[in-house]
Symmetry: D2
Subunit: 437 residues, 4 copies
């Protein structure tokens, strides 16, 4: 996930911000309604966090960076939370070891919800009583906190999916059956001339807010290329498996082949093995389900996405190729919001084929690009605690673009850069093919 | 913990067994009353299990080995529990991976309590409707199940203590302050002539039940030796620490020294580091507390106990030396029951110095012996699923004797053999010194 | 090291190629003259290989890719060598596990030298008897084999340095004392306008040969930037250390900080710890020596180079910035050959300050760039066994440029891309600072 | 291997000791005659040492414990050897890390042989010039050093076998083909009444020397038992394999089953896999050879020996049962010397069936016992550096008895206790069955 960073400016009026605050905060709590206190306690790996921790951490962000700074007579809800719910801000002080977040049974879920309620009331009170001058400082921090919370909304879903998958009884996060499948769609290739193109956050098109890693806008040269009209599907992944894709070293990066062998990977994450290489089932947020061949394949690592592309005689796009294509999409309803998964998959209106544009660009699955997560030329981290060495994650990670079915709709934009290491599988990550023109 | 095994015989009348069943089962539930559903979910290491798992597993034992065999028209409470709550019985079928027990949020704690209630009702119904012949088969299995459950009562406490200790806010399992300390007591040495002595379970003295590893009773030769009148105290451990005991390789077994260095051990488990090597505090089931110098030291690994004994110019007793001494204790009230810990420590009546016998032999802390956990000569595992390769744990473990403050009183006897690997610290394990006469 | 690849064409006359062949092959053997058979057996980590293995592997390359294909009645020197000395060519068949190369005492060093002699004779015989048509196929493979051998000449030196460093008696690869130091040189900044610039191998300037990863030549946009006039020195690294650079997380990439803590890194590789943070000594190929403050710092990981640059308020250059600067160097004698190290360091003629160009660009230490090792746009691996999935190493590695004091002079060129993972220290790797204009 | 310890007394006249010294020292050098300097450099795992290290370490023992103490104007051969060739004596000072012994190419093999020659000359000179009083101190140390050297003679063979086995070309330590096999011999069971029996070193029967772990002689009670007339054979191990012995958890200790699964063990060490479970081949000191079904099975871990015994409906003997049987062997020629292996196996004269005694007790393969390696009651380590915490290895190891075909003949005796952890396979270790009477 991108390091949160202060937006350059935010001139929304106070009531609109308060309303936005309540909407985003409320959405987080809606996400845990299907979960018990015990569900919210689970941590299945160091990279994932308990739902309860997500609920508390996003509130800690407001308490630490907003209330502590702007409230007169600030008193913490609980002094120990400063350490417990710090993620990685060394500037804030100590932090509780990440792999042990699942060992914090106290505070209870109810106490964390009380914490949220108090933070909400105090932030809203601050907004109601602030003056114009202070508001100019306050508003960007609150806006940042809300975008930060939206990132954790998606992580909460990816992490609870991972945790529940360890239960052999196949529990569902939520049941929404039956759901319509989607129809097969042949791949077409869309050509782009490229050239010297400007990339990065552009307020007019991308909205009021961006993380610092989307800036500065800058030129980059792109050679002519072609992009597939849709995402790679589960059915195509089955063909890769049937063609022994997981057993052929020549299809894999050297590190990817090491990863395949060390983890004995033979299928995408969550797929259940099957004797005859068909009728696969997989674990979803709706429980166990048949793998639908027309739905975009998901939960691939970069290694798998790269190997599939090589097998298909194509390659992954760069993040700039992807962004160039995304900027030429026809204006329409925009991306999907939470939350549609798998057999529950519905093609979105703006993604219907039309003016020759690719479909499924926004809000379906995160698309692995071949671009390393690097700073843009001229990149400068912001000052202050919230900008604590923002570039520190820019090593051995790859950029994903487009947002997934679990990404809040208002969090999706053409300039957004998500990033994960090449072995990460538990995000809603798939791929789209590209090739040189 | 010893492998549970069928008692040779049990002639208690049916109502007495039903009453015993209800008492032991009820005690397990009383142990979790201070805990929330989230607390009961915690698993802090592969060797420890969530409280919820303990609650379910001991019921699984009755369901699998009693109800499934003796109930007409047996139907499992939940077919999936057979795998989820199997510990290590390969004969029963698959088992869920031990390190992932903390990832089972469903069934919930409430569902597990419902499971317990149903199993209780069905077992009691079985007892109420059984005939004499069947009862001869049934009673030993139920008795075994209850002793098995008592083992898990202690494990539930050691495991929840370990899990709660990761919470930097120092939560208490239960608060019982203030509690009286105990008075210093000088060590005296009690001499024993030894000779060819019979060891192992002896029904007249040890009661109606024994695990198979306590049998057969057999002779062993013991050279003359002396045993300390009391356990080693926290104050003596502080002297060891102050004398740089954790930094001197000549005091340690070679594997123990590796363990010290790999884990950077400088204090017993749960002790908090302290700049001036005094006024130590430690984590207890009552929360954080001062270390009382007169209380027996606890949570030592075998390596630490062995190093302390070498530093003190003595050695650990063998399990036969310990048993010989335990058999000569004056008859008195017997061992303590659940649950007294640490600053809460009270010397028990039978352990008052008196007829020249050592004190604190039963129900204070488990005492490491220098004896490897081996089969007694002529040892034979019982037949059937419950006796599944009983000797399989007899490798690289050491015997502990005497029971701890967390051991149910009726579970303590002179012939009982507890066992753990030499690096285990999370049990209530301490030591008593011995030396050659 | 770059994957070897076939040069597009090579029109050198046969006698010149034979002479080149003998010169490069002879140089490899000169490199092991200071070493015993036991020295040549050492393997200090999986990433490094024994000198004996290098000697054999580069001959295996000629035997497998040249003799086997072009010799009539080809018979292998020893059929087992096909597996033993294969590095990573899956297409050739099995390969012996890399971490165990140091366990191959037989063939002996002498037998490997005999192998070399036979391969030499057979290749020269082939050249002497080939016709023009065949030569067009043969020559590129031999040329490729010689460049491949030159890569291994440098690896042989880096690997033997690493292996000998484990000997507490501080042995020397070769002694060449005393050697003159170099004089301090203040840093100046050279400005570059950037723009849309073509990068990659260009035969006219870079010579007759390139690996495939240097192609195709392609445009990329570069923003204005400045480059330091010289490499970072040992003295500057001492200032970083004295300023607690290894203890300050804000200077490091997140993965870099993990690396510092896991490895307890406090000094560059080969530096000996010193109580007063001065008068450092380090292990060199000439044995133990004082660290000269004016010599370029060497054996840094990417993590260290990146942290130093951040501490210095600058950044690492991209590989294209570096290449742009390298292409504007004044024509002069060109880079140094084997072999000058550390206190033995002499500034090279072409690197004297002069026409405003940076110095120490070629043949001093490999310079870490911030560029990930990625394929150039339009990159296509060559066909055939020698081109076996060439791009397979393009993941989680960073590009180094410029060549080191251990690189054969004729192997250094402006387009050359070396690459290593960010934690690799044992190459002759340092850095030069850059900054935005 | 037992910790070396000072013999209680040694009254051999000086010339006899000098002659003994020369004989043992010369034998060590004869053992490396088939090896090159490169062979002597190999270290295949941390538990094994290079042959060169063995050659040097046993000389270091004489230099450090004899010459340094008794020579006037002692000067070390090389001051650095004190650290390089120290094994585990913390009292002597620092020691070089064990896993890196294979990285010491200098001193060369020739320099180590020079070191040996100088130490020999100086020890012999000391013996030639000592007086009676000094000799009483000197002689036990030299005797100890020679027994220590004999231990390393066997280790040198087990370690070089392990190292050479990594070479896919199947090199031989020495070739002695063809060799006669041995004839099948049915198992008979020899009964022993047991009782209170004295065990441990007994000078009259066991010779002039013992390590401290063989003392003090002490009584122990033994129940009646039976011992197999011969060792378990390769043929019987093949039957275990064919009966899926490596796939059946009920045959294994719990730790043993973990070991089988983690290491994917399916065959004894050095056996090559074979499609049809017959005609097995294995790596021997004579190179690759067919597995002879009548030869004792060898290179088993304790886990394998224990599982085999359980499969066979028997058990391993205790070390006291073994010793009791060994003390009743008919007087005959005594054990074999170096060196006979595998297909080269010849039954020894004293081991022919005769007076109802078991055969193959001494000098064939080390026999795993079920006895943990513990101190005998009343055990006291000797004073001084050579006795440095002798008991420190008495944890998680098992006793082996009887000596192997690689053990020097004069090093074999009924009281000798060898010991290794239960997963060790690379010693010449097999088993003999026992059962309760």
């Amino acid at each position: 996930m991108p390091s949160p960073h202060i937006a350059p400016h935010d001139d929304a009026p106070i009531p609109a911000l308060a309303e936005h605050f309540q909407r985003v905060r409320g959405q987080t709590e809606r996400l845990i309604q299907p979960l018990s206190a015990e569900d919210c306690q689970l941590q299945s790996m160091p990279d994932a966090s308990p739902a309860k921790w997500h609920l508390a951490h996003v509130s800690w962000f407001f308490e630490t960076f907003v209330l502590e700074r702007f409230e007169t007579d600030f008193k913490p809800f609980d002094a120990g939370f400063r350490v417990l719910f710090n993620s990685y801000y060394n500037g804030v002080g100590d932090k509780y070891p990440r792999p042990q977040r699942g060992l914090i049974s106290r505070p209870s879920l109810q106490e964390v919800l009380d914490y949220r309620a108090q933070v909400n009331a105090r932030v809203l009170n601050l907004l109601a009583t602030t003056n114009k001058t202070l508001y100019r400082e306050l508003a960007p921090l609150i806006t940042l906190g809300l975008h930060h919370e939206q990132q954790h909304q998606e992580l909460l879903l990816t992490d609870i999916k991972h945790a529940l998958s360890f239960n052999p009884q196949g529990p569902a996060y939520a049941r929404r059956w039956p759901l319509a499948g989607i129809h097969p769609q042949p791949v077409r290739w869309h050509g782009y001339a490229g050239g010297l193109v400007r990339h990065g956050f552009e307020a007019e098109q991308d909205g009021m807010f961006a993380f610092d890693n989307e800036t500065p806008r800058h030129p980059a040269y792109i050679a002519p290329f072609e992009l597939a009209s849709r995402l790679v599907t589960n059915g195509e992944m089955m063909a890769f498996i049937a063609d022994h894709g997981y057993q052929r070293p020549e299809l894999w990066l050297s590190l990817g082949w090491d990863w395949v062998q060390a983890g004995q990977h033979r299928l995408p994450l969550y797929w259940l093995d099957h004797a005859h290489h068909k009728d696969y089932r997989h674990f979803t947020l709706q429980g166990l389900a048949a793998v639908d061949p027309n739905t975009p394949v998901c939960h691939l690592s970069y290694f798998e996405a790269d190997a599939f592309a090589r097998w298909a005689g194509a390659r992954l796009p760069t993040e700039f190729e992807w962004e160039l294509a995304a900027r030429t999409l026809p204006a329409s309803e925009g991306p999907a919001g939470n939350f549609v998964e798998n057999a529950a998959y519905h093609p979105l209106p703006q993604q219907e084929p039309g003016h020759g544009a690719p479909t499924q660009m926004l809000g379906d699955v995160w698309e692995w690009t071949q671009s390393n997560y690097n700073p843009y030329p001229g990149y400068k981290p912001w000052e202050g605690l919230v900008g604590e060495y923002n570039g520190k994650f820019m090593c051995n990670q790859f950029v994903l673009r487009g947002g997934s079915c679990a990404t809040p709709r208002s969090h999706i934009r053409a300039s957004y850069r998500n990033f994960f290491p090449p072995d990460a599988q538990w995000q809603f990550s798939g791929l789209r093919l590209a090739r040189d023109a």
